[in-house]
Amino acid sequence: MDWAQSLRIVAPEELLSVSAIVLLVASAWGQTRRDARAVTWLSILTLFIAAVMTAPVLLQGVRGDAALAFGGLFSGDAFAAFAKLLIYIAAGASLLVAPAFFEKYRAYRPEYPVLVLFAVLGMGIMVSATNLLTLYIGLELNSLAAYVLAAFLKPDERSAEAGLKYFVLGALASGILLFGMSLTYGFTGTTDFAGISAALSGGTVSKGALFGLTFILAGLAFKISAVPFHMWTPDVYEGAPTPVTTLFASAPKVAALALTMRVALEAFGPQAAAWQQIVIFAAVASIVVGALGAIGQGNIKRLLAYSSINNVGFILLGLAAGTPEGASAMLFYLAVYVAMTLGGFVAVLMLKDAEGNHIEAIADIAGLSRTRPLLAAGLAMVMFSLAGIPPFLGFWGKFVVFQAVVGAGMVPLAALGIAASVIGAFYYLKVVKVMYFDEPVDKATGRSDMAHEWLLATCVLFISPLGYLIKCLPALAAVAASILFPAA
């Protein structure tokens, strides 16, 4: 085993772990507001450097044995790099918006960015995993940090409740996942993705391995909050502090979806027929339940939670296609989804009343377009984009997914999915209606942070029609996706 090469491949992870540990120790000595801010900026810097280290891997399209580290436990290939870049960006953005929020409640502490770094480290391992054990380690590292983050706002009962709920249900899902892994190991004799793939490639698959596959997918479906394992999402998203929700809705989603792609396409690739129907069901159910569930919501964070369930459904449609186009469509959609989610939650963070209290009720943003026209326009664009209305980039995300589904010959599935997207449009329109058509209630009048404004502006520019001009993004997604299809 070439240690030097292995260590070189996992360089971003090394950087993240060392920085996280150093910052954790440092934060023991500095608990003031200024220290916390400093640690936050250092964490963002760490993420930035990690991104710079990861980018070349994606640009060069590193794949195969050149990417494998530690005897095939870990793969630093272009696919992982694409997902990692999204994760770093999303995590960096949610760190950027955190201090202003927590300082309002005098609850900001340097542990917060450190926990985010650990979570990011876990996510990085998840997307690079080529072995069930690596997968589990990454997943748990991410989850444990996430449970604490959900409960980070100590004075708030809802936050504690969210943390507990997330923990109990997350632990259950981990158990299901582990059970599936053990079955898979028992019936294939290996935990290595390539090995599982080889073991399953001959003829019919045994009942036991099929059970293993089903349980693994169920566990992963929990992590990506696909229906029917979505129940926790609205509660946790609503209860967790908004910057944490911003993180939950973006980075771990990317990680878990990328992981699901790897498991389904790499490990269980030869048995695509076995998991395709599960994925199709989860996708369609997520789209429909996400759309219907959102209609009655009065809290904008809950609404965005259902929206994320809905979006995961569309992303899973790409997986259901099971083709390189489908995988590349998923990655592109994920990139757009991250921008839309960040934009949506940052806009929510910017909704404050005159005393600076955060506003979450949809009724309270009535007439926002008169009091805060730019903010309302930004949020409206995010909503239209989430609904998949052209010319916003969210449309193109859905478009490439449907293109892949149609390309795989599943026209009825595409028609069903797109018809269901109209239901979703209803509640996105509701937010626009409240902001634009209703009489102002003059609640959301508070000033917002510069960082928030810039972040929202960036996200909105990305999802605006200008985003179509970024031609390299679909190309990179295609390169990254091709990694999962070695034969092609």
Binding site: P390, P391, W396, F402, Q403, A419, F426, L429, K433
Partner: protein
């Protein structure tokens, strides 16, 4: 003009002006919007003058591979040219008609200008997906226009408009994706000549039909239209009736007919029946309306039904007639909505009963209103006659039953329009406030007079409008010839008697 991207410029002018309007105060916004639409109108005139009638089918083409997955590809033929002219002609009038809007003027103007960009884009796009983006994006500004500046029931109407049209269009998107995959191109002219498998054509045709039938709108999916029209502000109604409805007809003529000729022939009966029902039913509904805008909205559905039967007549007269009806209806219904707007601004009601005897105190207004009423009825000398006559002639060659039923639309149209006119303009001045209304202001003159002039022009010398699209109609007819269904008209060529030299006068035989 060679190589100058005039279409891109026409798209850019209103878009840029729209952003400017967002940043300035109400007064400036009005000026900027008017200036931008006038510039676009001027560009439109240049476009028409430069258009080489009888030249290449596609002119002013631009193509830039700006995006991944589709291209920035523009170009127009005669059909698109005329519809673009209609859009740019109506826009300055709409801006003038928005005088009574006093809240959030900047945003209002911005919405209209963006709408103009998108409308031109729909007619100019030569890439399938670019077309779809323009087509669908138009929902957003219209949703805002109805929802923010509309009447009392505006929210219901805006939702209905948005969701109805969206549901119609998304299935078309799936069909487009399938087509692009099957044909390996997203280029509309190429697709227009591509032969899809007959079985696939059926599904594709139905998917496109779902979208265009809603947009058109055809009975029974027309119910969003009266709501949207009644609630929209005057200018919104004008754009909706004048241009947005034409996108449905344009869709049929650009996509359904040339791309799926076989399916079009197979489903012609569906179009015929829906159109026949629409003509009779919506005309009768129009007859009993108390609300002026609703009446005109229902009359739009009836007129659009004549467009669809003309399109599916599969012959030159029918296709040309449909195009002229579309143009004429764009002008006339727009003008009628403007006329309603004129008196609505004075009395703030659309209730027909609240008016009466307006020809006494508003003679000029009554004159214009009369002209547009007659054009809507289809009086010879106005644009309505030319279009309806041609469309009915066309369909008569195909099916005399359809021609007969659709022909009743003209009679019923005369019924409800004249009835409307009598109640508004003639009779006693039973309402004092209506009797006290002043006649047209100069601004209103500027709105109505140009439309009146064009309506008469199109009625007296339609050749100006038929010449640019003649070749395109012929090309389309040739494309449809193979699958044209046999009509029930027993057309036999006449048997001319060989002319014999008449005997010289006075010469005995």
């Amino acid at each position: 003009m060679d190589g100058f991207p005039i279409l891109s410029l026409m798209l850019a002018v209103p878009l840029v002006a729209g952003f400017i309007c967002l940043a300035v105060d109400a007064r400036t916004a009005r000026t900027v919007a008017l200036a931008a639409t006038l510039i676009d109108f001027a560009l439109g005139i240049v476009l028409w003058c430069q258009f080489d009638i009888g030249g290449a089918q596609w002119q002013f083409q631009e193509s830039k591979p700006l995006f991944s997955g589709f291209a920035w590809k523009l170009g127009i033929d005669g059909i698109a040219l005329l519809l673009i002219e209609l859009s740019v002609f109506l826009m300055p009038i709409c801006i003038l008609a928005s005088h009574s809007i006093d809240k959030r003027v900047g945003e209002y103007m911005a919405a209209f200008l963006v709408m103009e960009t998108l409308m031109i884009g729909v007619f100019a796009a030569q890439d399938l997906f670019l077309f779809y983006i323009f087509f669908e994006a138009g929902l957003i500004p219209m949703y805002l226009i109805i929802g923010v500046w509309g009447g009392a029931e505006r929210i219901y109407a805006s939702y209905k408009f948005f969701l109805y049209t969206l549901l119609g269009s998304v299935l078309m998107l799936i069909a487009m994706i399938w087509m692009a995959k099957d044909a390996g191109t997203t280029d509309i002219p190429t697709l227009m000549a591509y032969d899809f498998a007959p079985e696939a054509q059926k599904w594709l045709w139905l998917a496109f039909f779902a979208s265009f039938a809603v947009k058109m709108p055809m009975w029974p999916v027309h119910t969003w239209l009266p709501d949207a029209h009644v609630q929209a502000p005057t200018a919104g109604s004008v754009i909706l009736a004048g241009v947005l409805l034409k996108m449905g007809g344009y869709g049929f003529i650009r996509f359904s007919l040339p791309m799926f000729p076989q399916a079009s022939a197979d489903f012609a009966w569906l179009i015929y029946w829906l159109s026949m029902i629409a003509v009779v039913v919506t005309s009768l509904i129009a007859l009993v309306q108390h609300d002026m805008k609703k009446l005109i909205a229902y009359s739009s559905v009836a007129h659009m039904a004549i467009v669809t039967v003309g399109l599916f007549a599969f012959n030159t007269q029918g296709l040309e007639g449909s195009m002229i009806v579309m143009l004429s209806h764009g002008l006339v219904s727009g003008a009628l909505f403007l006329s309603v707007g004129v008196i609505y601004d004075r009395l703030h009601t659309r209730e027909i009963d609240r008016y009466g005897g307006l020809s006494i105190n508003m003679p000029n207004y009554a004159l214009f209103f009369m002209l547009f009423t007659m054009a809507s009825v289809g009086l010879p000398g106005t644009s309505g006659f030319v279009g309806e006559f041609l469309a009915l002639t066309g369909i008569y060659q195909q099916s005399s039953l359809v021609a007969f039923v659709a022909g009743t639309g003209v009679i019923l149209g005369a019924g409800y329009m004249l009835y409307l006119y009598r109640r508004i303009a003639f009779g006693d001045q039973k309402n004092a406030d209506a009797a006290a209304m002043p006649d047209l202001s100069p601004r209103e003159w500027f709105m109505l007079a140009p439309i009146a002039a064009v309506v008469l022009w199109m009625g007296v010398y339609p050749e100006s409008f038929m010449a640019p699209m003649r070749n395109d109609i012929h090309a389309l007819e040739a494309r449809l010839a193979a699958s044209k269904p046999a009509g029930d008209a027993q057309l036999t060529a006449g048997k001319p008697v060989t002319a014999t030299q008449p005997a010289e006068h006075g010469e005995a035989q």
